[in-house]
């Protein structure tokens, strides 16, 4: 009985234990590299951990960044989720349009494919001219980053509905426009969901660029300021917070997806 419950505990912990192997190896390598002085410009994990404590709660260095983590995190989150929501607002209807209407596809698809390879970073100067220094520019860049994955996956989802399902629906008495809500949208939800998940990930991914627009607060702004001040410990703290926040936000999305897409054999994350 003792061994049975032990193996039950192991089954519960196994995924976490396996997931921790690579981060712990990286941490160990970082520790060795910095204490062996292979590089002098990167602080040790201990120094970063100490600084993270100060960044979060203060009481150690008490400089301009002490106890400001929550402020910066909230500022970045508002841009990430705001920009993401704005992107979804444009990309979902546009994707449905391009996916279902051949004319819309012929008009819009070449243009969008042309714009897509242009990196968000390249838009930075124009965005600052168009929207000025500050939050609006940051919003627009994050929005742009999240836009394409949502759009492309929505187009793919509404286009790749099994034609047999339309036949099945029409022989069951569901015809014409009613099929959009009864067949196209539900059939496209897994792809649309994948697009939203990728879009949110990219919103986090481009937050540093988005906050190079002269906003005073935000994790990206902190990282850029810390770089000019040669505060590598602060840079690493900012990176870790973005990583963790992006990861947690993705976990929430995956949990929602697992609930919403119980029916889909390919969506059990």
């Amino acid at each position: 009985m003792g061994t049975a419950s032990l193996s039950a505990i192991w089954r519960r912990l196994k995924p976490t234990a396996l997931a921790l192997i690579v981060p712990l190896l990286l941490l160990a390598f970082w520790q060795v590299a910095t204490t062996q002085r292979w590089t002098l410009l990167i602080p040790t994990p201990g120094q970063v951990a100490e600084y993270m404590g100060d960044f979060a709660w203060g009481g150690i260095y008490d400089d301009a960044y002490s106890a400001t983590l929550t402020t910066h995190l909230l500022a970045s989150m508002s841009r990430v989720y705001g920009g993401f929501a704005l992107a979804a607002l444009f990309a979902l209807p546009l994707g449905v349009l391009i996916g279902r209407l051949p004319t819309a596809r012929m008009v819009l698809d070449p243009f969008l494919q042309l714009m897509r390879p242009i990196p968000v970073t390249a838009w930075l100067p124009l965005s600052m001219i168009l929207f000025g220094l500050g939050a609006k520019s940051a919003f627009s860049l994050v929005c742009l980053g999240a836009f394409y994955p949502i759009l492309l996956n929505t187009v793919f989802g509404v286009r790749s509905v099994d034609p047999k399902l339309f036949e099945a629906a029409s022989m069951l008495g569901c015809k014409g426009n009613a099929q959009f809500f009864k067949v196209v949208l539900p059939a496209a939800t897994p792809s649309i969901f994948t697009g939203l998940r990728l879009g949110l990930g990219l919103a986090w991914f481009v937050i540093v660029v988005g906050e190079m627009t002269g906003v005073p607060q935000g994790l990206g702004a902190v990282i850029m300021d810390a770089r000019t001040l040669s505060r590598t410990d602060l840079v690493i703290c900012g990176m870790i917070v973005i990583g963790v926040a992006g990861f947690l936000s993705d976990r929430v999305v995956v949990a929602i997806g697992n609930r919403l897409l119980r029916w889909s054999p390919t969506h059990h994350g």
């Binding site: 036949e167 099945a168 029409s170 022989m171 069951l172 009864k182 059939a187 119980r262 029916w263």
Partner: protein, 259 residues
Amino acid sequence: MAEATIPIVEIKGVSKVFKLQDQTINALAGANLTIAKGEFICLIGASGCGKSTLLRIMAGFEQPTSGGALMWGKPIEGPEPSRGMVFQDYALFPWLSVRDNIGFGPISRGLSRGEVKATVDKFIDLVGLQKFANAYPHQLSGGMKQRVAIARVLANDAELVLMDEPFGALDAMTRERLQDELLDIWQRTGLTVVFVTHSIEEAIFLAGRVVVMTPGPGRIESDNAVTIPRPRDVASPEFNAVRRVLGAKLHSHHGKKAA
């Protein structure tokens, strides 16, 4: 006119030509077929003989290039709930539970919630899926999925059930059981069934009439009544005699080509 005098389905000189880029394919050439209410008909033939095309024309998914397809004397112009198709690959709605797949037609027809529930319960019972009512299609075996597809069509009051190699993807045991269940449902409900298959044995086991079709261009080779009393024993001498006759008709086409 009394219903008995008008056939449920009439196929009059139906041809179907598909154009693929610069190729034209004569899928069906001058097919004639009359089906009376309550018949069980199997269409059988090699691939390319037009049996699926003929079935899809009866369903209203395809329009004939020439000739006429009629149901109760009126031209078939598009898919209708009175003609239900059972696809080989099920075509269930993967996002709906068994219950909601069967309820899809009744809901589309605008039945009240109570009527939908009563209808769904009745047909879930008919196909024996009570325990799986809330399961999603991906959780079901192939045989169970096909039961849902049959129930979905019946729940919609289909008079004519069109089946396109419905048991082709199932293992032998499941196929035999579903054949028995289908015959049982057909005998109890008085449905008209048109069943496409490439198995001679399946055709003779199920059908009152076996329509043999040959490819290139697809045409109806012969229309054969099967009079063996039911339940039919696939190992009996009568069964084998019919199998031999139909097998010869089915393969005569290949024979001609080889010679």
